[in-house]
């Protein structure tokens, strides 16, 4: 049973490795942002598997937090790519 969780951890780390490759090499900025988002999601998965392995439920809030942060980061980056600024000011510009 525990072997399965270790295999899952190894696979997730492999996935994160692929994403890091994409972040470093990615031809466009959008690729990098997507890969960073996916790294965040994978980290949430690693935290879930670790909390099963360590038999504690105190890590489970972290998953929600990581998910929210990954989404906010991606949304902000998308806005930055499209408009050039993250927070727009109204008025003369």
């Amino acid at each position: 049973m525990t072997v399965m969780f270790y295999i899952a951890l190894a696979l997730l780390s492999l996935a994160i490795g692929c994403f890091v490759y994409r972040v470093v090499k990615g031809p466009t900025v959008a690729d990098r942002v997507i890969a960073l988002d996916a790294i965040g999601i994978c980290l949430a998965g690693i935290v879930a598997v670790l909390s099963i392995l360590l038999e504690t439920s105190v890590f489970l809030e972290i998953i929600l937090l990581i998910g929210i942060l990954a989404f906010l980061g991606t949304a902000a980056f998308a806005k930055f790519l499209q408009k050039g600024v993250v927070i727009e000011r109204d008025g003369n510009h």
């Binding site: 696979l11 996935a15 994978c42 998965g45 439920s57 489970l60 998953i63 949304a75 790519l81």
Partner: protein
């Protein structure tokens, strides 16, 4: 648990990353599915083994399910309008006409 098996799906989806827009597609779908299965596995593990139903985990599942298509769409749209060309094998480009109009009106 079933989560371990479905991590494999997300890892494969990650490994194959074909091209720019298809890559976003592959990443958003497969990692979301894999993560949702892992989180479900964790939820049921704590529920059945320790008799401890964790509502925050459920909230995380719902949040991930809602936001990952949104973020994929946002980033693809931003990439398109910031001038990333699609792969040469793309068959049709529905947004091209609209983009032409935009650039014309901007001038």
């Amino acid at each position: 648990m079933a989560g371990a098996l479905l991590t494999l799906i997300s890892a494969i989806g990650v490994l194959r990353l074909p091209d720019v827009y298809t890559r976003s597609h592959a990443i958003s779908k497969s990692t979301t599915l894999g993560m949702i299965f892992i989180l479900m596995g964790t939820l049921f593990y704590f529920w059945l083994k320790h008799d401890h139903f964790n509502s925050r985990l459920l909230l995380a599942i719902v949040f991930l399910f809602l936001t990952s298509p949104v973020s994929a769409h946002l980033i693809s749209r931003a990439a398109y309008y910031s001038g990333v060309r699609p792969w040469e094998g793309t068959v049709r480009d529905d947004l091209a006409e609209r983009r032409e109009n935009r650039t014309k009106s901007a001038k």
